[in-house]
Symmetry: C2
Subunit: 408 residues, 2 copies
């Protein structure tokens, strides 16, 4: 299928005629991107025409940097936000050049000078801890090279995981902003441009934290600036899928004027030294509890060398009482943190019997941390500290992941 990849074709299938651009796939089917932006797969089809001229290579004007504007590095890792480029070239391995970005989103030229790099072009569900480490090193180098901010474009599915990992690994004196899109750029309702423009405005701001900049509502009126370690994708498809949990968003950016309103205190630009601690222990696991789940899964992971466990318990932080012996048996040389599948609110294991028994058995309360954030925190702690130190630090707020007081 390589010879037609990226070309516009007309095919006959299912008794109808379809026209579209041939997309890359591993499935063996023919995937066409139709004019309405949707991808459709065909297992049986007949090719009627191949439009040779359509595989136009990308042409863009060279851009001139303006000395009065800040310099921002855009690192692309793939995902829906990069898919406009895919659509034009028909290839997933498209170069994500600053010229391309400016051609697609010309407004950005008046906000900041951008340099870009394509670090990955992978689907976000395929991001792994090793990618988090490479990305954090790339961001570190960019800041060291003098960039005034870094924007990372990322698929939305695991964007919050990656942004959380970078939050722990990298102490940053400048804004490090994660941005994605829920709808691809070739759909009329795409959020790619607005999210990118808003992140460029935040890149000029006084923020000195890792944040996520995404649609705040179903209108195109503003984006929220979420503290990465307090944010979560809470809808499969809505453009305002990201929400801050147990914490107000740091602020919001009006679109298109870029005016920022801050809602809570934040770490300012220049307040922290640039520092990278990029080790992560991969022998950590998140286990979501449900009634009837047996504790043997903990023993399974323990026997395979896992020493970091996040339990996503019920309510204030519970698992059934028949888990307690297993927990006691592995807690001496493991870090076991309790979080809640409620997601909102704070665990407190001192109220009911089971909770107190869990604490006595060696479980540590995860306070109001999201389960996913607690997981990445223990990966980072066990990668950089000994167990005793990690047990102390896990309950401490390090980068905003624990809100000292929950506001309703």
């Amino acid at each position: 299928m390589d010879e037609i990849l990226g070309k516009k074709v007309r095919i006959k299938a299912k008794g109808k005629v379809f026209e579209g651009i041939v997309m890359p796939t591993r499935s063996g089917n023919l995937i066409l991107k139709l004019d309405n932006g949707y991808n459709v797969g065909f297992s049986e089809y007949e090719i009627l025409d191949v439009f040779e001229a359509e595989r136009a290579s990308f042409k863009a004007e060279p851009i001139t940097k303006k000395p009065e504007l800040p310099n921002v590095k855009i690192i692309s890792t793939g995902g829906t936000i990069a898919s406009k480029v895919d659509y034009r070239t028909g290839a997933v391995t498209s170069q994500f050049s600053s010229e391309e970005i400016v051609a697609e989103v010309p407004e950005i030229e008046n906000i900041c000078n951008i340099d870009s790099m394509l670090l990955y072009n992978i689907l976000s569900e395929n991001m792994k801890p090793v990618n988090w480490i490479e990305l954090s090193k790339e961001i570190y180098s960019s800041i060291k090279d003098g960039y005034d901010a870094v924007i990372v474009t990322h698929g939305t599915d695991t964007l919050a995981y990656t942004a959380t990992a970078v939050s722990f690994m990298l102490s940053t004196p400048v804004p490090v902003l994660f941005v994605g899109a829920q709808r691809s750029s070739d759909r009329p309702s795409s959020d790619a441009t607005m999210n990118l423009i808003c992140s460029a405005h935040v890149a000029r701001s006084e923020l000195g934290e890792v944040a996520i900049v995404m649609h705040a509502s179903t209108s195109d009126d503003y984006c929220y600036i979420h503290r990465a370690v307090k944010a979560r994708k809470n809808h499969t498809s809505r453009r305002d899928a990201f929400q801050s949990v147990n914490q107000k968003p740091l602020g919001r950016v009006s679109y298109p004027d870029g005016r920022i309103e801050w809602h809570v205190d934040f770490i300012k630009r220049g307040e922290r030294e640039l520092e990278l601690k990029s080790n992560l222990s991969e022998k950590c696991v998140l286990v979501k509890f449900f009634p009837g789940l047996k504790p043997d899964v903990l023993e399974y992971y323990y026997s395979k060398g896992y020493r970091g466990f996040v339990l996503e318990g019920t309510g204030l932080g519970h698992v059934s009482s028949d888990w307690i012996d297993t927990i006691r048996g592995i807690s001496d040389d493991s870090l076991i943190v309790m979080t809640s599948q409620c997601l909102w609110g704070r665990v407190c294991d001192r109220v009911y019997d089971t909770g107190r028994d869990l604490l006595n058995a060696g479980v540590i309360e995860g306070e109001d941390m999201l389960p996913e954030v607690a997981l990445i925190k223990i990966m980072w702690l066990l990668g950089n500290y000994d167990l005793e130190e990690a047990k102390k630090l896990v309950k401490k707020n390090l980068v905003g992941e624990i809100n000292p007081r929950t506001s309703y």
Copy 2:
């Protein structure tokens, strides 16, 4: 400690004097329920006084049934909502008699005639599928005996799990209402009375479904009536912790007047025949995916005889591509359902490559089902149908667990 259990004592500990009722515990510590309603544990203490007279047994007036009112059965399973009784008797094995309920919540006498039974008095994190089966049989018998509605009091932690299990097991012609309390009855902010009164009002209504009746806001103004299979506990401690997800609540009940506003269509009283299908397969597991999680956990469960898997994937329903071979290897004789950790929204694996590969490997899309609901649904399907039939039924809306169209 048995000789002082349930008695009021005065102790010296941590240099101070405390007074309270001795609560049962397995922890070995002394747990006192103080006058402010909080439990406090002491590992070292000195008993100063034991007030023998305080262990008063419960006295209540016999109640007279009113022929014009509907007859409602209240089944108690334990949890915070029953804790006022605990407080008075000091014992977890208190009788939960209708006289006691009327004494605590006298308004209920003018809404319905109640009979009550104490089925369990266990913490809700200790509820197991076997308890769901026993409870559904008890509800079935009560309806068969002619009760016009059944109210189940339950700890909030796993209330939605139990209510969901009953929804699948029991076809009911009358309202079956689950009610709990986030704050125990002996605290000023308790929601126990209001939730119970509201459920009594719904017990008189035209509903013919399994529903959850809980505080709708932080004020004491009304309760929501949630369809059980669409509800979730989304906050560890707030009184309005329960929310309907991917579905509006069925309606709301004003407090204290009991006026009901319905928001969506529902199954009416008498529309369904009473029927019980109470088998559940316990060889089912819910696995929450995160970046870096390896698919060997599926093989582990498969080798132990598990044939039902709910994956809590990212976004529209993804796990990383390196899971696909493992899934393909077990999918022929397993039921594998994809849901989303976003919780809100609908999975759709036909949009991206990984999704299409997952479908080809045998994964079934869980539509807009909550992961916990999908788990209980496959436990029920594999308990009552053969695999091929279960694979067909899992995508079908059976009791409202799949919303044909997601409303935003």
